[in-house]
């Protein structure tokens, strides 16, 4: 069974994380106080909860857990690392309902934050906390039997998340080169509340291209659209939570879908490291678009709906980034479809055939489709489809990152905040601009590849 270490960095990362733990527990059918009693039989439950090792360490593993207190009795610890340079969010973990699920050694905080400055996080906090972070990581790694990967959650806009977050990615790449690093990062496009966000996004993106295994970007703009669309359609289902809770839930659901193939059994298993092999045709092209359907907590039972899900999952409206993998102008380099619930091989093959007609493939990738089946559907649903695509339509995102960066940099606005950090070199700005341009060019080149005329023999 694959095990993951979740590392959440910065305010955004930790807020997603705070939503993450209850969702995981619900998926494993552990009752939190307000849940209705489950219909799950004892046997099914044992089957389901044997997979809990993915996110938890146990002192003594009981066969089944019904409630949170059962879990605590067996000395369970979530394999979560919470790192923030301020104390407000993590302090809530220390006091909250799940406080005993967090290992105190894995909470690293500081005061008073990184001042929305990537350089502060990367160049100053990074080296300062390096040893402390490494110790915490090692402490968790040592408790794992078969570590499958690190999952990092942070935002690209702020200082701590983008700066320290990308520093940690690099640190892990150096110290644990054989363990894969999967990054779920939030681009604050459309809702920028931080004036230096364009710089932070650009620097962080530049770092991730080089040191992450796979990056699953998420755009606030896209998330808010999804929330709006869902809540306005199902107006009787307006979420009782604030918008951030809803938005974070979507991100959490995405991570759960993403890891589900690795955590649960299925006739066609997708392990997390499969994703890298299947989806990244050339080094550095490792930003993957993710989407899933259905979003709403509405039961899907009819056959008709089940068939609709597949194309939905790859459609623009279900992407967590403002990009359309089915766009006929962009080139697709690979698609993964993961069906959760009772899908047959036939179903999946039909979906693949349908999807293929909608995509414009690169000359080599006409068969670049990975299909997976996972037995366990998400909590409260019978079926769901998760899709990953490596498509040049992700350029929308990078173009935006670069143009926002240039808007500020042309006037050299706010540059002095960065140069004030002693380890930061002014050359980094120029370098970052070049790197991003190169990176965008890589994708453009893919779009331009023409089919070779010669064939073997």
């Amino acid at each position: 069974m694959s095990e993951f270490i979740v590392i959440q960095v910065g305010q955004c990362g930790n807020q997603i994380g705070s939503c993450f733990l209850p969702e995981i527990l619900q998926e494993y059918d552990v009752k939190l106080s307000h849940d209705p009693p489950s219909k799950c039989s004892k046997r099914d439950k044992t089957d389901l909860q044997q997979y809990m090792y993915s996110f938890f360490n146990f002192g003594t593993k009981a066969a089944t857990f019904d409630t949170l207190s059962d879990l605590l009795r067996s000395n369970a610890k979530a394999r979560f690392l919470c790192i923030d340079m301020e104390d407000s969010v993590v302090a809530r973990f220390r006091a909250g309902k799940f406080r005993d699920l967090y290992d105190k050694k894995c909470l690293i905080t500081n005061y008073p934050g990184s001042g929305n400055n990537w350089a502060e996080g990367y160049c100053s906090h990074g080296p300062k906390y390096k040893q402390k972070i490494l110790n915490a990581v090692q402490y968790v790694v040592e408790q794992c039997d078969n570590l499958n990967g690190f999952l990092l959650l942070f935002s690209m806009g702020g200082g701590t998340g983008s700066g320290l977050g990308t520093f940690i990615v690099k640190l892990l790449a150096d110290h644990y080169p054989s363990v894969e690093r999967f990054i779920v990062c939030v681009y604050p496009t459309g809702t920028e509340d931080v004036i230096t966000a364009p710089y932070n996004m650009a620097f962080a993106t530049q770092e991730l291209v080089n040191s992450a295994t796979c990056v699953f970007p998420v755009e606030n703009k896209a998330l808010l659209d999804i929330v709006f669309r869902q809540t306005s359609r199902y107006c009787d289902r307006v979420s009782p939570f604030g918008p951030f809770e809803d938005v974070n839930k979507i991100i959490v659901d995405m991570v759960l879908h993403l890891t589900s193939g690795s955590r649960f059994g299925g006739k066609m298993n997708i392990d997390m490291n499969d994703i890298n092999t299947n989806m990244v045709p050339f080094p550095k092209l490792n930003f993957l678009l993710s989407g899933f359907s259905p979003f709403v907590l509405k039961y899907v039972t009819s056959k008709h709906l089940k068939n609709e899900l597949s194309l939905m999952a790859s459609s623009r409206s279900c992407q967590l980034v403002k990009a359309d993998p089915l766009d006929s102008r962009s080139t697709s380099m690979g698609v993964t479809l993961l069906g959760r619930g009772k899908f047959s091989v036939n179903d999946m093959r039909n979906y693949v055939d349908k999807l293929k007609t909608r995509l414009r493939f690169a000359p080599w990738s006409s068969k670049a489709v990975k299909v997976g089946l996972c037995d366990v559907p998400p909590k409260g649903l019978d079926f769901s489809v998760f899709s990953l695509s490596n498509s040049t339509s992700v350029l929308n995102l990078f173009d935006e990152v670069l143009s926002q960066f240039m808007k500020l940099y042309k006037r050299k606005a706010h540059v002095h905040h960065y140069t004030a950090v002693s380890e930061f070199d002014i050359q980094n700005f120029k370098q970052c601009q070049n790197d991003l341009n190169d990176f965008i060019q890589l994708y453009r080149d893919v779009e331009k590849i023409k089919p070779f005329t010669f064939n073997k023999r």
């Binding site: 006739k267 066609m268 092999t277 690169a362 080599w364 990738s365 068969k367």
Partner: protein, 398 residues
């Protein structure tokens, strides 16, 4: 004669489940006659408490995929839960196999000591994945080097429309290794099996269970004891010529509904199955007249076949040699059951398609960095291309 079966990876473990389920129904109610004892001898060893334990190894890199409700307890599960082989042949072949070979050797030696007869190895794996293909070919080489026993490989070709992206690379690399180590290779094609499931068995929603079940049955009809030939020799005999080692099995009847009154009607049913070959050839734009090296007919049923039954087959058959075997004992409770094993250029098309796919990826250099990471470079790929192409050329110019 006994057979040590090695199942690799997720595909292998799923087939093992179907295989032993079928074998169980086959022998559980059987009279304790010669057939029974031969059958038990070839697949099991009997413990002191009269329990049957399969002479079998299950090798996987991910514990989660282990089958759960098998009829017989597989004692030898060699598995390191290290998160799979990333769908990467190179990872399985170069890295994961190192972790597993030691334990596999130990278990194989133990199994060899337990059987006092001649032993064959039977490897079952899929060519598309990382664990099956990668670890499978590494262990194949290991077995070839360490033991004099004959090796039979049952390999599963992936759906040509794509199960995973690197399947053509993995198939290419694995096949180039396995071709030299094995004495016979049985090809199972997911596409063909799927086609059989929908068209002949009328299954609307084909699942992997159906496909695996079909594979298991095809294997059993060929490998269960026969009168005039030792188990497994049948297959090796068909591959006398080291240049031609690819075998395909066709089976009739597929369901109880099919008319199975006499051998001739079963033969018609089998020839009906070759319609798929025709479709495949048109799709791949290959014009190839059917030619064969050798084939064998295995008839299981009360009435022994007479010469005239198979006259049409022998006349139309392009194979140089045709063996006919007969076993009076029924199999799967069918009155008559006929399977045709053929070594012919029918195997060409599906392999050719995969080779084209691999070449198509290779000329753009796509996904190469995943393989280079483990030291499988262009030179390695080139030699693999050469080996598999040679095999195909031989079949083409038959």
């Amino acid at each position: 004669m006994s057979i040590i079966t090695l199942f690799y990876g997720q595909c292998g473990s799923q087939i093992s489940e179907a295989f032993y389920n079928n074998l169980h129904t086959e022998i559980c109610d059987s009279k304790k006659d010669d057939y029974y004892s031969q059958s038990v001898d070839s697949w099991f060893h009997v413990t002191k408490s009269n329990k049957l334990v399969p002479r079998s190894l299950l090798i996987d890199t991910e514990r989660k995929t282990k089958p759960r409700n098998v009829r017989y307890q597989l004692k030898n599960v060699v598995s390191k839960s290290c998160g799979g082989s990333a769908n990467n042949w190179a990872f399985g072949y170069c890295e994961q196999s190192k972790l597993l070979t030691g334990e596999v050797e130990e278990q194989v030696r133990k199994e060899l000591e337990r059987s006092n007869q001649q032993v064959r190895f039977l490897n079952i794996f899929s060519l598309s994945g990382g664990t099956g293909a990668g670890v499978g070919s590494a262990i194949n080489e290991f077995l070839k080097n360490e033991f004099p026993n004959k090796i039979i490989n049952g390999v599963v070709l992936p759906y040509s429309s794509g199960e995973l992206v690197t399947q053509s690379y993995n198939t290419l690399l694995a096949l180039s290794k396995v071709y030299s180590t094995s004495d016979a290779i049985i090809l199972f094609e997911n596409d063909r099996l799927h086609h059989t499931c929908t068209n002949s068995l009328n299954i609307k929603d084909v699942t992997f269970d159906d496909i695996n079940n079909l594979i298991a049955r095809q294997l059993l009809t060929v490998l269960q004891p026969l009168k005039d030939v030792q188990t497994g020799d049948l297959l090796c005999n068909l591959c006398d010529d080291p240049l031609f080692k690819l075998l395909q099995i066709k089976l009739a009847p597929l369901s109880k509904l099919e008319n199975a009154s006499n051998w001739r009607s079963l033969l018609t049913s089998i020839s009906r199955q070759s319609r798929y070959d025709f479709q495949q050839k048109t799709q791949a734009n290959v014009t190839l007249k059917l030619k064969g090296v050798s084939s064998a007919l295995v008839c299981r049923g009360l009435y022994s076949p007479v010469e005239t039954d198979f006259k049409p087959f022998k006349d139309s058959s392009v194979a140089k040699t045709v063996h006919i075997y007969h076993q009076r004992r029924k199999i799967f409770n069918l009155d008559n059951c006929l399977s045709v094993v053929s070594n012919s250029n029918n195997a060409f098309v599906s392999l050719y398609t995969i080779l084209q796919d691999a070449w198509n990826l290779y000329k753009y250099g796509a996904y190469m960095h995943h393989y280079k990471k483990f030291g499988v470079d262009e030179a390695h790929f080139k030699s693999s291309f050469e080996i598999v192409e040679n095999v195909l050329q031989n079949y083409k110019h038959l």
